[in-house]
Symmetry: D3
Subunit: 138 residues, 6 copies
């Protein structure tokens, strides 16, 4: 069993804000991330799949096809988007934290992946913060 990882990147705006809370509670909880006019990030996305290399091609998966799938299923929705407003698969009102995004990305991508098994979604929000999801129930 070999694990293969593809890195992709996207840029997006977001804010952390619970609609049913007061402005005070939002600012206390989320600090500068609650700025009502948004802020944004360069996100780095690492998709890891696992499988056995094909005896002829040496591929677990054609990495160009994997990259194309990630673009169609994920990046075309989130790149240069507003994560709170623009992305169909992010439920309205759900906070677009890295923790929530890795679960949502997993669910979207796993539906479309063929010929190998999704192992991990890793998402870096800054050089100091990243989240990983391996499909484990809590």
């Amino acid at each position: 069993m070999v694990y293969l990882t593809r890195r992709e990147r996207f840029n997006a705006a977001h804010k952390l804000w619970v609609e049913t809370w007061s402005e005070e509670r939002n600012l206390q909880t989320f600090g500068k991330c609650a700025n009502k006019n948004w802020h944004g990030h360069n996100y780095e996305l690492f998709v890891t799949v696992k499988g056995m290399p094909d005896p002829e091609t040496g591929f677990i998966v054609d990495v160009k096809k994997l990259s194309r799938l990630i673009k169609e299923v994920l990046l075309d929705q989130v790149d240069h988007s507003n994560l709170n407003m623009d992305v169909p698969f992010i439920p309205k009102g759900m906070q677009p934290t890295t923790e929530n995004l890795v679960i949502l990305f997993w669910k979207e991508l796993e539906k479309h992946l063929e010929g190998c098994t999704l192992h991990c979604i890793k998402l870096c929000e800054t050089e100091n913060i990243y989240a990983e999801y391996y499909g484990e129930e809590g």
Copy 2:
């Protein structure tokens, strides 16, 4: 003459959009950067000053003081902000491109810098794009 550089980071939302243009022309010119709901970046800012090391301290400038000044003058305005809406020193209607930002950052910082000379403002928008300004008139 020695050059000393301090790196700082900030996260912000922006869009590229000329108000007096049609939506079509904006999209044609700016592509995905014209998304009306914004997108954003992790910006890396490199401030370079020059001077002679002090014979006793070996400092051109106390880098902690330089860092504090950059925070007060620049980062407190732009970090977790919307560059089109929230920043007093970015004129309304001016596109917040990296090219424009390095000039604006230079003007703000130079006013407050003491004891050494500003040499360069470098701003990285993504890992593939950055702009530099050395105070040169065009």
Copy 3:
């Protein structure tokens, strides 16, 4: 179950030297790392916790609070320190190798962590060497 990682950095001096050994044996075993006047490193520390995102905030843990805890419990002791001499939780005579440090860091941090579970301590000594500890007994 989602894994969230926070990166922190610190700078420290250390040497590798067994007091009960001869200088010759120390130099043979540790090479340049046994220099009696110390050497030092920029350490990169990655703390990974796991848990379920809170349904309202989308947080496993408030990453700013996690960062503050790491600073209080670990960085305030080790940053700009001598790892052989200055750090209360490093036993005198124990070699401050990355392998030993990740175990010691785990024990200190786990005592104070609330609301999520410590998953991994990773410590990079140079760009070519790092150690990881997952709390496993040997």
Copy 4:
């Protein structure tokens, strides 16, 4: 149980090409990677071993000895080589994909490793693609 990782680097040429296939099928499958005059990469290799730190030295393994072993067993064969033509332990006709290389590297290195256990071979082909092997049968 602690995990220790050593990074090494090497540069090599390769191409992806199945001898028994037509040129058309090779180009369709491997795209530009099938260029008959080769292309090449700066590979980054991460070798992770696991064990308990020695009570006296604090070492799982002397990382300088580990580095020397990696060089003798792997790098001396693959650095500045043609991976399709020059490397004794890469079977002729097997595609030198990152997926295949991590398995081959594991088999070579594990034979020679003493005093600790091989945990992972990770190989980065570009900043966007890497493979990992943990010795798991498929």
Copy 5:
């Protein structure tokens, strides 16, 4: 005057070998880089242009157009190529060192650049070696 830099990447094979020299002299001069079956690199290319930001768009140049031009003029020739054999603008027999490549890249790109001025070609061969050319005669 503002400087704007775009990073691109390509992978290529090459060797250093003077045809009119003996094998011995080639190996003595170029070491492992003279391996007759080639080796290769992941090259990082930084193209810096200078100009004044357009008052309306804030652009020195549309960076997407600059990227497209670099791809057409340079990357389409050198990516996944053999630098000694495949590239029309590299004279046969000229060594494809980073020093020579930056001069050749400058000449190719400058011919096609419109609306801004080429300032620097920087090419990284490994993480430890890079060359820069500013169009200066020797």
Copy 6:
């Protein structure tokens, strides 16, 4: 004229402390960098030379020879050293700041460099701080 840069790395301990000052003044000026038991860094050193590529070899300088020279003249003195105590070419009592080190490194290296011209010494102390020296008098 082409510029060629070689990166090298070293690890060292140091502290900032003026002997003729009180402890209070030292702590006030240098903060944590004045810790009497030292701290340390992973330094990254970039040496840039300039010249014309040789028509036969394509080299400004044989980069392996340049690397060997840097090791003999600089790294053998400073690697795994105490910069305040161990290095012959750092005057006792001079603060080993990055600003001072780049000037001292320039003077040492320039004496021994043959066949090309030293252009720049750049030294990174952390990922956020670096100094550069181009041989300019103040």
